[in-house]
């Protein structure tokens, strides 16, 4: 991995939540085209590591270096429940100052075009995850941090997710993926955070 291709690096980071040391001494690096699967049992600190990489949590020790913009999926879809899906995604497009066709393309990639006028509140869990994924795709951010992105998704949606990740990597992006089950992603590096805790 060349230094020029590096997008994200965590060096000997530790995470403390409340009084509990969740993990320590975790190092990882993500370069363009790379993907890393964080795995481990519930409570091992996968989500904390994702939030730490996103800058939402402060590392108790170590350093986090981000060289590009980040897109994040976590527990909340961050879409206004009362709005039709398309308008909810358009809000983030305005925040990210991206144009409408990119949102249309992202919705198409996740098979959401027929749901464009459905209020977010009416979407199922899997559909909301797909919507959140469309937000990530449309953002154009090179670094994707995906915390349990496939939760609630059916097999067809998982295939779309895997295809979107492959396309993103092919375009020079990188993916840090936290999941408690395996996804069929090619050339996926693994980090068992449960073994480090």
């Amino acid at each position: 991995m060349s230094e020029a291709d590096l997008l994200l690096r965590l060096d000997c980071v530790a995470c403390v939540r409340g009084d509990r040391l969740v993990f320590e001494g975790v190092s990882l690096a993500l370069a363009r085209g790379g993907a890393l699967w964080l795995r481990g049992p519930n409570g091992a600190g996968k989500s904390s590591l994702i939030r730490l990489a996103a800058g939402l949590l402060r590392a108790a020790a170590g350093t986090v270096e981000r060289r590009e913009r980040i897109a994040l999926i976590d527990e909340g879809a961050a879409l206004d429940p009362e709005l039709p899906l398309r308008r909810a995604l358009d809000f983030w497009a305005r925040i990210d100052t991206i144009d409408g066709p990119r949102v249309t393309e992202a919705m198409g990639a996740m098979g959401l075009a027929p749901l464009a006028e459905v209020p977010v509140a009416m979407l199922s869990t899997g559909q909301r995850k797909r919507a959140a994924m469309a937000r990530v795709i449309a953002s154009g951010a090179p670094i994707w941090l995906l915390d349990e992105p496939a939760n609630g998704m059916d097999e067809a949606a998982k295939a779309r997710l895997v295809a979107a990740i492959a396309k993103h990597r092919g375009n020079g992006g990188a993916v840090l993926l936290a999941s408690h089950f395996a996804l069929d992603i090619a050339e996926l590096a693994e980090l068992d955070i449960g073994a480090l805790a």
Binding site: R51, G55, L57, A71, A77, A78, E82, R94
Partner: protein, 215 residues
Amino acid sequence: MTALIALFWRDLRRAWGSGALWLPIVFFLLVATAFPFAVGPDAPLLSRTGGGMVWVAALLAALLPIDRLVRPDKETGVLDQLAVRGFADEVVAAVKIAAHAFGFGLPLLVALLPAAALLAQDAARVEMLATGLAIAIPALASLAVLSAALTANLKGGSAIGGLLVLPLAVPLLIFGAGMLDPSGRGAVKLLGAASLLLTVIGPFAAGAALRGLRE
């Protein structure tokens, strides 16, 4: 800047879309209707005390929607998404304060007219009340967003939130009601100073509270 405007309009749309447009108006009219029954048919007394009642009602109207100002954005992950995009928490708080000021402030000023009529306020006092409220609305919005941010993690936080910011709102009430007193000529300047101070401090304090929600 485009992003901040989008965020402002979103907050304003959510405020008015969720019924907050009518809430201060209904609240004001309820207070203005109920208060004369409590005081009795003494027009001079009503006129003298009604102005203060308007100020108390304005403070409570500002605090009415605090459950909707921050908590939904925290629960759906909107605040995290904004932080990931590099928005400073203080900027997010400032936008929320501005949106809340417009969201409840404009309806409040409209509701002032019928409320003042019910409370036997003459034209000069209505003008004073409108001026005072216009000066204080940014500060009241600031206190409401601060309270909402501090209590976003607590169930039933709105009640506690009201208690938290009440001491900070007291100068606004004193100077605002003081403007109505013929001897309180300096009150408008003091109200302006208190409002400016709270409006400036608000985004920083609320920003720190928003940051605390992520830990």
